[in-house]
């Protein structure tokens, strides 16, 4: 009988506190000392950018802030980068709604970060938020079939009729593009069912990275023009020329991913090492 754990067993059973400490150190080092690692721009990001760039002046864009506070670190920078693009290009009508209870407050955060006034953009003229509408797919269908019957006010409660941006906006057919930022499959898939399928509105979808695999079939079938993970916000920031929180995370993501890769390899080495030593002792 062995008296203590062997080397491989001890390596396999490294206390979780040690793993967390190493993880935190790898997080903090590049945050204190940015390394400026390069960020490749994917085809999906270029397609997203090109889709917005190709919109003719006067095009209305429906934007759904459908994410919760948990997804803000990923989707907030993405939303900000896209707003920078829309305001820089000019002539577009981004009309925002929220299918998430957090949406209006998170929109406030993004708008504060983007600062539309520096582009000369004015609320109600160049951008607007029509509020959180409960019911997810019911809300999407209602807004798509008759927006003005569903809601007559913006998110502050002011009448939509007073805002120039809302002139001529009545239902889904008034929009040239749909953009959704979400942490929920109900929203990302709901827009495919309630706007793309009946009205064929081109759809750009940004979700948290872990949801990307479930949305890939829609992209492959052409129901989504471009699917981006919020974690790719750095790529959007580079395309738009407005580096922000997305680029800031690139160094950290590189090193932490290398660490996880090392953990997986080390864990398997320890596992097979232990099995081999047990076999050697037993045999």
């Amino acid at each position: 009988m062995s008296k203590g754990k062997g080397f491989w067993a001890r390596l396999e059973d490294v206390p979780r506190e040690v793993l967390y400490a190493i993880l935190l150190i790898v997080f903090i080092i590049p945050m204190l000392n940015p390394m400026g690692f390069p960020v490749p721009i994917s085809d999906a990001a270029r397609k997203w950018y090109a889709t917005i760039d190709a919109l003719p002046a006067g095009s209305a864009i429906m934007i759904d802030f459908g994410y919760s506070g948990g997804g803000e670190p990923e989707l907030g920078p993405m939303a900000a980068a896209v707003y920078h693009h829309i305001f820089k290009k000019g002539g577009l009508k981004p009309i925002t709604m929220s299918t998430s209870v957090d949406g209006t407050l998170l929109w406030d955060k993004v708008i504060a970060e983007v600062n539309p006034e520096k582009y000369g953009r004015k609320y109600g003229v160049d951008y607007i938020h029509i509020g959180f509408i409960s019911g997810t797919e019911i809300a999407m269908a209602a807004v798509g079939s008759d927006l003005r019957k569903t809601t007559s006010t913006d998110y502050h409660g002011a009448s939509l009729d007073q805002f120039p941006i809302m002139q001529g906006i009545k239902d889904a057919s008034s929009f040239k593009l749909l953009i959704c930022y979400t942490t929920g499959g109900d929203q990302s898939e709901g827009w495919v069912r309630q706007w793309y399928t009946p009205y064929k509105i081109p759809y750009l979808c940004s979700v948290i990275a872990m949801m990307v695999p479930t949305m890939l079939p829609y992209q492959k079938a052409g129901q989504i023009v471009s699917l981006l993970a919020g974690a790719q916000s750095g790529e959007m920031e580079l395309l738009v020329g407005m580096p922000g929180r997305g680029i800031k995370s690139a160094d950290v993501i590189t090193l932490t991913h290398l660490l996880v890769f090392a953990f997986v390899v080390l864990g398997n080495i320890a596992y097979y090492g232990r099995k081999a030593s047990e076999r050697a002792r037993g045999g």
């Binding site: 396999e12 490294v14 979780r16 793993l19 967390y20 993880l23 690692f37 390069p38 960020v39 490749p40 919760s68 506070g69 948990g70 997804g71 803000e72 670190p73 209870v101 957090d102 209006t104 407050l105 998170l106 406030d108 955060k109 409960s134 019911g135 997810t136 019911i138 809300a139 269908a141 209602a142 079939s145 008759d146 019957k149 569903t150 998110y155 502050h156 409660g157 009946p198 695999p213 479930t214 890939l216 079939p217 492959k220 974690a231 750095g234 690139a250 160094d251 993501i253 590189t254 090193l255 991913h257 290398l258 996880v260 890769f261 953990f263 997986v264 080390l266 864990g267 398997n268 596992y271």
Partner: protein
């Protein structure tokens, strides 16, 4: 009569509402359009009413803890109820889009929900070290694909080892998308079957608790 009112009418309501919504989409019957728009708006308002369920359930649960003085729990139960009331009062009285509620949201809910979501990253790290083992072909496949995707997601690695990019693109476009599509088609068939069963009254889970008559008479 009682069973008819309590069971058959709700099932009939499901059927009528669903058929109306679908008929407007597929058949475009004149007159159904405005009715369906109204129905959808009703659905929005009913969903809004349903947003209060969480708070009501918490009240039920935690007032019981408080009245029973559940050891180690009852002070926290009081705190939860206080938080519900404070949040509701600030939001309803001062408006959910006002600066006061925004302050409260950013100080509490936003920080807490963002952190709770992210804390799972720590457990994933221990899982990566301790649980992800290439024990068989399937596990090894998961690990290899996962490792390639991990390295691609590290921006500098993707730039430094360019072969990773087309490898990951292929893995994303072919095995991942195809498997997810298969799962999606299966789920869609299941959803359609469940929907039809619910509409014709064979699936009655949404009715919730059974009445005494239903329990005696069976489903």
């Amino acid at each position: 009569m009682s069973l008819f009112v309590r069971r058959q009418i709700p099932i009939a309501l499901v059927f009528v509402a669903a058929v109306l919504v679908m008929a407007d989409y597929f058949l475009k019957i004149p007159g159904t359009g405005p009715a369906v728009v109204d129905l959808q708006n009703w659905g929005i308002i009913l969903s809004a009413f349903a947003l209060g369920f969480g708070a009501v359930n918490l009240f039920y649960l935690h007032t019981r803890h408080i009245s029973r003085r559940t050891a180690g729990q009852w002070p926290f139960s009081i705190w939860i109820l206080v938080m519900i009331v404070v949040t509701a009062v600030i939001g309803v009285a001062m408006g959910p889009t006002g600066p006061h509620y925004s302050w409260w949201y950013n100080a509490t809910y936003f920080a807490l929900s963002a952190t709770v979501y992210s804390s799972l990253g720590f457990y994933m790290t221990t899982g990566c070290y301790r649980a992800l083992r290439a024990r068989n072909v399937e596990a090894a496949l998961l690990l290899v694909v996962g490792a390639i995707a991990l390295l691609r997601n590290a921006p500098a690695i993707a730039v430094g080892v360019p072969i990773i990019i087309p490898m990951e693109a292929w893995l994303s476009a072919i095995p991942t998308t195809s498997a997810q599509r298969g799962i999606m088609i299966g789920a869609a068939l299941g959803a359609i079957a469940l929907g039809v069963r619910t509409m014709i009254g064979r699936e009655t889970g949404f009715l919730g608790r059974l009445t005494e008559a239903e329990r005696r008479g069976g489903t």
